[in-house]
């Protein structure tokens, strides 16, 4: 009875996580389109309805990322198997005893973990740069720097998200 309850609970969490992930992806697409289109295609600052759409989806995306960070962080912990080369390197440097077994690295999972932590890490400057600029804390020079930080972090962030999604799809396809 308790086992089936646990399985049901687990599947609920998995579904919720997937739902949040999908929602985050939708938000990401909207944010990327509204953010990059005016800047990269039109050569203008984001403005008009695009900025409203951007600002509407941004907090939803932030919530999704926070939820994913909490729900996925445990699964994305690095294990020894993720980076045997690193373990060997450390052991060689420190002359520590070998565990006696050479574990094969799971490159896809490792990539997913790396990109997940990068996403969470980059989300902080991405979000804070724009939210802090809304408070009367920074003058024009710093405002421009924050805007630049937001823009360039967004470029890197987008690449990482695309990579993460690609790896996730690849893993799922393999299964």
């Amino acid at each position: 009875m308790s086992k089936s309850k646990s399985i049901r609970k687990h599947s609920l969490v998995v579904n919720l996580r997937m739902l949040v992930y999908l929602l985050a992806l939708v938000c990401f697409v909207v944010l990327a389109l509204t953010g990059f289109y005016p800047v990269l295609v039109l050569g203008e600052h984001i403005s008009g309805y695009l900025v409203m759409l951007h600002a509407t989806f941004a907090p939803v995306f932030a919530i999704c990322l926070a939820v994913l960070a909490v729900m996925w962080a445990g699964n994305c912990r690095f294990t020894a198997g993720d980076w045997p080369w690193f373990e060997r390197l450390v052991q060689r440097i420190t002359a520590a005893k070998s565990a006696g077994k050479t574990t094969q690295g799971k490159s896809s999972a490792f990539g997913q973990k790396i990109t997940f932590w990068l996403i969470i890490f980059l989300a902080l400057p991405l979000a804070l740069s724009i939210v802090l600029s809304m408070f009367p804390l920074f003058g024009t020079h710093w405002q421009e720097l924050l805007l630049g930080l937001h823009r360039y972090t967004a470029y890197v962030f987008s690449v990482v998200v695309i990579l993460h999604t690609f790896l996730l799809i690849q893993t799922t396809a393999k299964k």
């Binding site: 960070a69 912990r77 003058g139």
Partner: protein, 647 residues
């Protein structure tokens, strides 16, 4: 042989250079170039009057002349000041060059507004080619007529000194309204621009030749040139004496006692830098508070720059050419004044980027921080949008200006409703795409349709025909519009069309509408005709400090669903009572009203958004920290040779 030729050539060149140099040096008069001293200039001058003939020598004024033999004339600023300062250079200055078509008109400025409630006329006029204004000549006003109406608040020159071939005799009687240096530079407290015998009154009497002397505080002028016959000769003692014995007195000057010293010179307290109160005679603004109709000066703050100790001419500078800086961003592209770039708001407060020396903070201008203000505001707004003019209200302020309402002159109608009706502050998009605060006037005039353009019917015709049509109407003593109806407009259009003095289709422009009669005689109204658009000119002053600028409290100072910046009501002013309505400010900004509202509405959720995003960031930071510390723990264990777990 060859050497001799070279030597001769060199000598010729040298002589030529010296000749050019000497000629240039001769052009400059004593006062055209400063020797560098900042000391107060002492001006003890002989007075010279304009001679009867242009080419004759100036007449030196002797107060002790026998008036049966000679006429005591008013001194001429051109002849008196012009001894040391090149009048010809000065008359190219901004205040005097409006009639020169070669002068770049620059950013639209305040027009002269001709108003007549009795004919339903309120038309912006200017000699400068600003879009939306009409040239006085198009309205049937000669330079002399224009000067007589508006010269009260002109420092002379411009239309006041042009030759009028149609009124040569009249111009001989009244003289020309020369550039009056003393309007701005006389430090004598008796300088009288708006007194009962001052400059404005003299101009209205047609005493152009006498106006400068009469207002200088050195003399008294009585009589009126306009009362004199065109055959009157102001230089002929017999003519003057004869006129003096009549009921209508000719203009006569009496110099005050003791102003002439033993050398027959007169002391002038000349100020290089015009004091603000002298600028105010022509550049005062009165914003009538919608709620309290407050009009008292003591209840209004002045420009923050004046309160900080600056004067107008600290920013609005000029040299001997009097090419004064108007002080708007981008003026350096249109003006020859080398200091234009560093004298705008940005020039002083931020510094000129292309300058070779640091220019920011000139005159102690604080470098603004604009904390929390997204930089996009600097691309979309002028500095004045947030910092100038009265704080915007739900409805635009009725505004009076010196030039439009002849403030500071005798018998001014002090009623708030007095025409012309100028509305401010209107936040509107200007030519460079930025939103700036403007003053606005809705043109109202009778015109003739010429293609897409409307040319005003000449004043004389309008006065004759329309005054007759509206002769039975009641005109408020406040100087406000009468309450006209479409019937009145129809009658006016018919009368003008049938009079035979107007060629083409007669129309009436008022309140943003173009009225015309169709073939069946029915009145048609056309909205949004280009000729019916309001004329707007940007507001520069009074500048408010940072602590009273828009947005200082929160973004909703402008981005609120009811914020006047976007949703304030701009009164549509017209004599047609049924057409008096209002438009939203956003309609002047090239922004979709629904977008402006939606964007403003999003600010309701802005604080929540900030909180949500900050909370999410905190959660992510906590997760990163937690797992980062765990990873660190594992790394430490691994380095210690213990069995490592997951990071």
């Amino acid at each position: 042989m060859k050497k001799g030729l070279i030597l001769k050539g060199f000598l010729c060149l040298l002589i030529l250079c010296i000749a050019v140099g000497v000629a240039q040096a001769q052009q400059k008069l004593l006062g055209d170039e400063s020797d560098g001293s900042r000391a107060h200039p002492n001006h003890r001058l002989r007075l010279f009057a304009e001679p009867a003939e242009e080419d004759a020598l100036p007449i030196e004024i002797d107060p002790d002349i026998d008036t049966t033999e000679e006429v005591l004339l008013p001194f001429s600023t051109r002849r008196t000041c012009g001894v040391c300062h090149s009048y010809e250079i000065i008359k190219g200055g901004w205040h005097f060059n409006s009639v020169d078509p070669n002068v770049n008109p620059g950013r639209p400025g305040q027009p002269w507004i001709y108003v007549d409630a009795r004919t339903g006329t309120q038309i912006p006029l200017s000699y400068r080619s600003w879009p939306g204004v009409y040239k006085p000549g198009q309205f049937g006003l000669s330079d002399r007529q224009f000067t007589k109406i508006f010269g009260r608040q002109m420092p002379g020159g411009g239309p006041g000194i042009t030759d009028d071939p149609d009124q040569v005799m009249r111009q001989y009687v009244s003289g020309k309204l020369e550039i009056n240096c003393l309007c701005c530079h006389n430090g004598d407290p008796r300088q009288d621009q708006g007194g009962t015998n001052g400059y404005a009154v003299q101009v209205s009497r047609g005493n152009f030749r006498w106006a400068a002397a009469a207002s200088s505080g050195l003399a008294m002028v009585t009589g009126s040139a306009d009362d004199m016959d065109v055959m009157y000769d102001p230089f002929d003692p017999f003519s003057v004496e004869t006129a003096q014995s009549g009921t209508r007195k000719p203009p006569t000057i009496t110099y005050h006692k003791y102003i002439f010293d033993y050398e027959n010179t007169v002391f002038f307290n000349i100020l290089r830098e015009a004091p603000a109160h002298q600028c105010y005679f022509c550049h005062s603004n009165l914003y009538i508070d919608n709620s309290s109709e407050r009009t008292e000066k003591w209840a209004e703050d002045e420009d923050i720059h004046l309160k900080a100790g600056l004067t107008c001419v600290d920013c609005h500078r000029n040299g001997i050419d009097h090419n004064i800086i108007r002080g708007y961003a981008g003026e350096e592209e249109k003006s020859d004044n080398e200091m234009a770039a560093v004298s705008s708001c940005e020039g002083c407060h931020l510094g000129e980027h292309s300058a070779t020396e640091p220019t920011a903070g000139r005159l102690s201008a604080p470098v603004p921080e604009h904390r929390g203000l997204p930089p996009v505001h600097f691309e979309r707004l002028t500095c004045t949008a947030c910092h100038s003019g009265p704080w915007p209200a739900d409805r635009t302020h009725l505004t009076k200006t010196s030039m439009a309402h002849r403030l500071g002159t005798p018998n001014v109608n002090k009623a708030p409703e007095m025409l012309p009706h100028i509305a401010s502050v209107v936040f509107a998009q200007q030519a460079d795409g930025k939103i700036a605060p403007h003053k606005l006037v809705w043109p109202a005039f009778w015109g003739v349709l010429q293609g897409e353009n409307v040319m005003p019917v000449e004043l004389e015709t309008v006065t004759k025909v329309i005054e007759d049509v509206l002769s039975n109407e009641e005109f408020p003593s406040s100087g406000d519009w009468p309450d006209l109806t479409n019937d009145h407009i129809g009658k006016g259009l018919s009368a003008l069309a049938s009079g035979g003095s107007v060629d083409g289709k007669v129309v009436y422009v008022a309140g943003g509408r173009l009225y015309s009669l169709d073939d069946s005689g029915q009145l048609n109204e056309k909205m949004d005709h280009p000729a019916a658009k309001p004329y707007m000119w940007p507001i520069g002053h009074d500048v408010r400090p940072a602590s009273q600028s828009l947005g200082i409290r929160y973004c909703t100072d402008c981005h609120g669903t009811k914020a006047p910046f976007f949703f304030g009501n701009v009164a549509v002013d017209t004599p047609v009572a049924a057409a008096r309505e209002s438009k939203k400010m956003v309609e002047f900004q090239d922004i979709s009203p629904s977008y402006a509202w939606a964007f403003a509405f999003s600010f309701v959720f802005r604080p929540w958004m900030k909180m949500v995003v900050l909370a999410c960031c905190a959660v992510m930071a906590f997760v990163l920290l937690l797992y980062g510390l765990k990873a660190l723990g594992c790394a430490v264990k691994t380095l210690a040779g213990e069995k490592s777990g997951s990071y």
